[in-house]
Structure formats: C-alpha cells, structure tokens
C-alpha cells in the first residue's frame, strides 16, 4: 500500500470540506478520485501534497505518517502534483520550467558556478538533457525554448506534468488533467497517463470526465459532501446506486 488516508477531516471556518475520508492507493496503477463539485477532491489533494494540513486524521505514505508535513517535505518523499488551474511558471521557458522542477533531484552547488568550474557546466548540461527528455516524454520537446505563457492550453497541462516528472516522483497527483480539453487532447492525455503507469509510477487522478476515468483507472474512489461514498473498480462504481444518485442530484440542481 503506497498511500493510506485514514479518517481525514478538514474544516474551513466551521464548514467541513472533508469529513472522515478514507482512501487507499496501491503501488502502481492509476487510482481515480471522482465526485460532484464541492465534494472535497481538491482539498484532499492539497492535503496529500502538504499544501493544507488536515484538521484531524492521518495520512500514511509507505506506512509513514506524513499528514501535516509541509509541501516541500512531501515532495522530498516523492509526491508530485499538478494543479486544476495550471500553475506553470509563465515567464520561464518550457525547458526552464522543467529544470526548475528538478530541484529535488539535481545537484546545483553555488560555488562551482561562482568560479565557473567545468563541473558546473557539465552538471548543467546533463540536467538540460534530462529536462529535454521530460519534455519529449509529454510530447512538447519542440517547444523547449518557448516562454511557457506562449503555450496552448493543452500544452500547458503537459508542461506541468513534465515539470512534475522532473522530480522523479513515486506518486503523481493529477488534478483534472483533461478539464476543458477536446476529444483529441483527452485521448492523448489518456495515452500519456497510461504510459506513465506502465513504467510503474503510481497516479492519483481527479477528473470529471467519466469516460476518461473509467477507461484509465483500475480503482476509483467516489467522494460526496466530504465523505467517501465508495471505492471499487470502474464496473462496481458505475453501478453503485448512491453514486448515480449523487451525480444525478448534482445535474438536476445545475439544470
């Protein structure tokens, strides 16, 4: 078991965003996290990546308690993530974005750089090659020297994943990776996620696009009003009566 979430609660000013959520993610494979708007999915991801601390409950990574640790500690333990509202570094080039993402794994001492030692140049060259590989991995190598803000929406999503990959994570949290994309983009993203899983990376995926989730995930957890509704394989989940109700209820109120 790579990740265990036990009875996690998080309140914001009296409102319970998460209320005793439990979740287990096994090593390898793609785990889906779905639920209507406001179910607390992003809050959960924020807790898993250390951006928010849980009000109570515990989070175990490889059996080690990690809840309440700051984001950079969790990143150091191999958790990487993307954001729903894409947080790339707009003024950097794509390559620079990925190189910045190498923070956890790259050695970049100051003094060799200060004295222009060859070792510094060699290291930078290696890191550059590795960053280019990450860009190639997500299919935007051609954009390496473009400023990130000049990318298309889909490319930005990819860039953000490339940056996350640069830290060679064990667990990758993807927050709505295909939100707002057309069919073609969704398919490409699906292939990317699959190939990452095939390499043995564990992914936790938040998504609204049901077809996308059903097609990719081996297991799915459903959240509703801050509680775990159910966990199961796509087949089980899609036939779960409460799940159907939760989604129908939402779509009704939206209509």
């Amino acid at each position: 078991m790579l990740l265990q979430v036990r009875d996690v609660t998080r309140t914001f000013g009296g409102v319970k965003a998460l209320d005793g959520v439990c979740l287990e993610v096994e090593k390898g494979g793609v785990h889906g996290l779905i639920g209507p708007n406001g179910a607390g999915k992003t809050t959960l991801i924020n807790i898993l990546s250390g951006i928010t601390a849980p009000s109570s409950g515990e989070v175990l990574l490889d059996g080690q308690a990690v809840h309440g640790l700051p984001a950079h500690r969790l990143a150091a333990m191999g958790v990487a993530r993307t954001f729903q509202n894409i947080r790339i570094f707009p003024a950097m080039t794509c390559l620079e974005n990925v190189m910045a993402g190498q923070h956890m794994v790259a050695s970049r001492p100051f003094f060799p750089r200060l004295f222009c030692l060859p070792s510094a140049r060699r290291r930078e060259k290696d890191q550059r090659i590795e960053a280019l590989a990450c860009l190639r991995r997500v299919g935007i190598e051609a954009r390496a020297d473009f400023p990130a803000k000049a990318l298309s929406y889909g490319e930005r999503r990819r860039l953000e994943i490339a940056r996350a990959l640069a830290s060679r994570p064990r667990l990758l949290l993807l927050d709505e990776p295909v939100a707002g994309m057309r069919q073609k983009g969704v398919q490409e993203m699906g292939r990317l996620v699959q190939s990452l899983a095939a390499e043995g990376m564990t992914l936790l995926l938040i998504e609204h696009n049901m077809a996308f989730v059903m097609g990719l995930c081996s297991r799915i957890t459903v959240l509703n009003f801050g509680r775990t509704l159910t966990t199961g394989n796509p087949e089980q989940v899609s036939h779960h009566s409460e799940v159907i109700e939760a989604y129908l209820g939402v779509s009704e109120s939206h209509a």
Partner: protein, 296 residues
Amino acid sequence: MDLLAQQLINGLFIGSVYGLFAVGYTLVFGVLDILNLAHAAVFTLGGLLALWLVETAGLSLWLAFPASVLACGVLGLILDRVAFAPLRQRADSNFSGLISSIAMAIIFESAALGLFGARTVRFPAHTVSVHIWRWGGISITSLQVEIVAVALLLMVGLTQFLNRARAGKAIRAVAENDRTARLLGIHVDGIIAFTFFISSALGGAAGILFGLYFDSLSPDMGRSIELKGLAVIILGGMGSIPGAIIGGLAFGLSEVLTVAITGTSNLRDAVAFTVLFAVLILRPSGIFGRRKMREA
C-alpha cells in the same frame, strides 16, 4: 480626568482625519488590490485648489468646496487613464502600478509646487465660523465635531452606497472578481474609472477639511499623512470602508494614548508602527478585513 477625556477627544478627532484620508485610499485598494500612492498628492491638490478658489477667484467656500472636489475627481480619472489602465493587463500590475502612481504623485506634487508655491498657507480667517465649547478643562471646536461627523457620515453613506446602489454593487462585484463582473455584463473599465473618481474626490474633500482645520496647506502636506493612511487601511482591513474609519480611530487613539500614558511623545510614531507591524503578523487581514481566501 479632564486630561484623559481631552486626550480621548483628541484621539477621536485625529483618528477621524486619518479615516477621512483613508476612505478613498482603501476604496481603490479594495477594488484593484493596488496601492495608489498618488492619493496623498490628490489630497494636497484638493486643499490647495479650494484655497485658490476662495482666495484668488473669490468664490465662497460653499462653491469652492464642491468645485475642488469635482476637480479632484477628474484628477482621479486622469490618474486611472494615464497611470493604471495601461498597466492593468500586466502580470506585475501590482508592482508597476505602485511605481506609476509614485510617478504621478511626483508630477502632481511638482504641479502643486509650481502653481501654488512652497510656502505654507491657510484659508483666510473666518472662512468658516468656529465655536469653541469648553467644559472645565475640556475644549472642543465646532470644526472638530463637524469633521468627526463628516467621517462617520461618509462611512455610513459609502457603505450604504456600496450595498444598495447599482453602481455601488457593481464596484463590489469588480472588487470581488473582475472577470466574473465582466461576464455579468458590468462595464468593468467604467466602474474602475468611477471608483477612481469617487476615491480622488474623497481625497480632495479630506484635503480641504484638513486644511481648514489645521489652518495649514503646503505642497508636501500629504507626505506626513501618507504613511499613516497606509497604516490605517491595513489596520482596518483592505477595502473595508468602516474599517478605514475605525482603523483611523484606532490609530489616532493609539497615538494619543501613547502620549497620555508615557507622558512623552518620542515614542508616539514608534508605538503606532509597532502596533501596525504586530497586527500584520498576527492578523494580516486587518481588524475588519474579510479574510481573502487565497486558493492553493
């Protein structure tokens, strides 16, 4: 006892002056998240212009006051058009807006210096009639009462305006989220310009009242109140109108009480800024600020 009562009155009064200055300041801050450092210069120009209208053009104060306030509103429009609107789309509009407002402040202040001279001047005596009431050792002037009243009226009136009037609601919508406001069909640029108009008009009015009460107007009169105004809008919570007035009162009282309690005035400003510092660290959203949730 008289001493303390008088000090409380002093604090209430100077606090209202800070509040008056801060109301317009905080309005722009609330809507655009930008500090308009030219506000103090508009404040100065408002006072000096009204004086010029009274003294040189021979208008009565009742005409000069609205005329000058209007002119300051127009200055606000210019400010928006020249210094802020062109920068709005920039990623670093907080930084660059700050600087362009400083540039405008320099230009405005040099205009004040060039047009009105560097000397400290005042409204002609008896421009407004002043009564002084005394009870025992306590004294209050009618102007003090009027300024406190104007500050409170403005607080209530502006709050009502923002809550009730169409334009006021539009301002609040833009303050909340300009993109959503645009989607709702609000003419965002117009609303921002309007906000600048009101803010600067209020700044000008504050300048006139300030000049009337203290019998002293000079091109650099905005400087000393600028920092305190900044402190006040932080204390009160950014963008909060009642916060600006109450923050002003709190700041005024903290100054006065420092003098009253320690008996000396060396520490007055140090205490005020230490309080500000502490508030920022302990409660960054200010005493009355909505805690703006910054999403992760």
